[in-house]
């Protein structure tokens, strides 16, 4: 294992110290591993809290700042944060207008945030609403399973709901926007290589030189199927088609297309792939109103990608375009 780290056990606290050193707008509660806005809590503003396992940087700490999250809880690598962390974050950002928890749909995340919300309401009286993202079409959704995983839509949701909160909307309104984003978004991912968890020291799974894992999860969970290595144009089709048919997206829909790198993927490859993805989308009669290309939700050093499509309307677009100032997404301010 070759990584720019010290002791694998210290990766998360040390990365948080690095974030704090690099971004004067942010603060870190080191005991609770919470990254939060230096100006939190903002009186009268709905607080946005998210979090999850570490190893997905810049998600979520890199999305803390004006117009996006107020705080992010960093769990161990690929392990959801514990309720204490979420409770601490909730306290830090509660400005009296309530707090929205943005939770990716993994059993552990859902339960830990749930316990935190119960504790917060009991201990501080803060009103907490949770929105769970579950956009990964690689996983079958049914009432008999844990349901689809939350992946790329989480990034878009945090930006858009963050803008709504920044505008001073109420907790219910912000939660409503967040739920609309989750309902209108779908994702699908693919791995060229495994990631290596620092504490484990070897790759999570083995993938032959000529193989790819289609539908992989962001923690290295196995995907839908193992398929032969393919050119970018075929990969684009493998990712986009299940996404398009799931919602489904229809001709004339306006969409935001988010092409994500998983941590070990060079940008030049993402652009080669985006060229193919964009071609399929426009060829399907979709209007690609906005795009986001880069590594925003990673899986440590995994080489691979995911495509997220979000159906947008004027309101969601204007919230997307609204000012944001975080380490990873920044515009308009």
């Amino acid at each position: 294992m070759k990584k720019l780290i010290n002791d694998p056990a210290d990766v998360v606290p040390e990365a948080l110290a690095g974030i704090e050193a690099a971004h004067p707008d942010l603060r870190v509660d080191h005991a609770n591993k919470v990254v939060y806005r230096a100006d939190a809590p903002r009186s009268g503003k709905v607080g946005l809290v998210s979090g999850g396992g570490s190893g997905h940087e810049p998600m979520h700490g890199g999305f803390v700042g004006l117009g996006m999250l107020d705080a992010a809880c960093a769990g161990e690598v690929f392990t959801s944060p514990v309720p204490d962390q979420v409770l601490a974050a909730t306290r830090l950002v509660d400005g009296g207008a309530g707090v929205l928890h943005v939770v990716k749909n993994y059993t552990g995340d859902v339960m830990n945030f749930e316990m935190a919300a119960e504790l917060a309401e009991a201990e501080t009286g803060a009103r907490v609403v949770s929105v769970v993202t579950d956009d990964d079409v690689a996983v079958q959704d049914s009432t008999w399973t844990a349901g689809r995983r939350g992946v790329g839509v989480t990034v878009l949701l945090e930006k858009i709901a963050g803008a709504a909160a920044e505008q001073g909307r109420s907790l219910d309104e912000v939660a409503d926007v967040a739920r609309r984003v989750n309902a209108g978004g779908r994702s699908m991912g693919l791995a060229l290589t495994s990631c290596t968890v620092p504490a484990v020291g070897h790759p999570t799974f083995e993938l032959g030189e000529g193989e790819m894992e289609l539908g992989v999860g962001i923690h290295g969970e196995p995907g839908r199927e193992r398929v032969p290595l393919a050119p970018a144009r075929d990969i684009a089709a493998m990712l986009v088609e299940p996404v398009l048919s799931d919602l489904p997206f229809d001709r004339g829909d306006r969409v935001l297309c988010f092409l994500n790198g998983l941590g070990g993927t060079p940008l030049i490859e993402l652009y080669v792939l985006y060229n193919e993805v964009h071609r399929i989308l426009t060829g399907s009669g979709l209007d690609v109103a906005r795009s986001l290309v880069g590594s925003y939700m990673t899986s440590l050093d995994m080489a691979g990608t995911s495509v997220t499509l979000l159906r947008v309307d004027d309101e969601l677009l204007s919230l997307w375009d609204a000012p944001v100032r975080t380490p990873a997404l920044r515009w308009g301010v």
């Binding site: 161990e76 392990t79 514990v82 059993t107 339960m111 196995p222």
Partner: protein, 214 residues
């Protein structure tokens, strides 16, 4: 019948921690096959914290001791198993109340409350291939043995056996809860990691709760 003291419960917790440490890598391997390969690390982090929390400063009453275990697990494990094992011990502690000791029947009832807490928190049913598949039959076996007039030690042995059988029964199951459910049919053929750690919990109980370690 004899009473279960806080010392018995402490012995149980310590033995569980020991078994988790011993089986840490095995649990991780199981989780790597159908989950994300951290169950051993998660549980070990939790039981290590529990040992630190009770060391020297263990609450004197059974209920308070077990609650302390629960809050510590909730605060340190994370993942799916943290809230589930945490809730198990929290409910157990609530059921044991403030009494200085507990009868075997009290403990059996508390274990039932603990398992119900796990089910309420995780919404898993029997057959979903989770820790519930080890915990549920264990508690039922314990209750049935006591109802049939067996000794407390026998009841705990029956519970441990039922947990192990429940763990083994998860192997052919297709997971419907937790990370393993993403695998669909491919989750069959592997024992569930959480059911495996739950079997360790009951094995630890059988060796300690009837005073075995004193």
């Amino acid at each position: 019948m004899e009473q279960v003291s806080a010392d018995d419960l402490l012995a149980w917790i310590r033995e569980f921690a020991r078994l988790v440490a011993e089986n840490r890598d095995a649990l991780t391997e199981l989780d790597a096959a159908i989950g994300d390969g951290d169950h051993g690390a998660n549980m070990h982090r939790g039981t290590t914290a529990v040992l630190a929390a009770v060391d020297g400063a263990a609450p004197a009453a059974p209920g308070a001791l077990v609650k302390k275990v629960g809050t510590t697990l909730v605060s340190t494990v994370g993942g799916a198993s943290g809230p589930l094992y945490g809730t198990f011990f929290l409910r157990l502690g609530t059921a044991l109340g403030d009494a200085a000791t507990a009868s075997p029947a009290d403990v059996a009832a508390a274990l039932r409350a603990g398992v119900e807490g796990v089910v309420a928190r995780g919404r898993a049913e029997a057959g979903d291939k989770t820790m519930v598949d080890a915990l549920l039959p264990a508690v039922t076996a314990c209750e049935e043995a006591l109802a049939a007039g067996r000794t407390w030690a026998e009841a705990l042995a029956a519970a441990a056996e039922a947990a192990a059988a429940g763990r083994d029964a998860t192997t052919p199951m297709v997971a419907r809860k937790g990370r393993a459910s993403y695998l669909g049919e491919r989750s069959a053929g592997h024992p569930d990691p959480g059911a495996t750690s739950a079997a360790l919990l009951l094995a630890a109980a059988a060796g300690t709760l009837a005073g075995g370690s004193r």
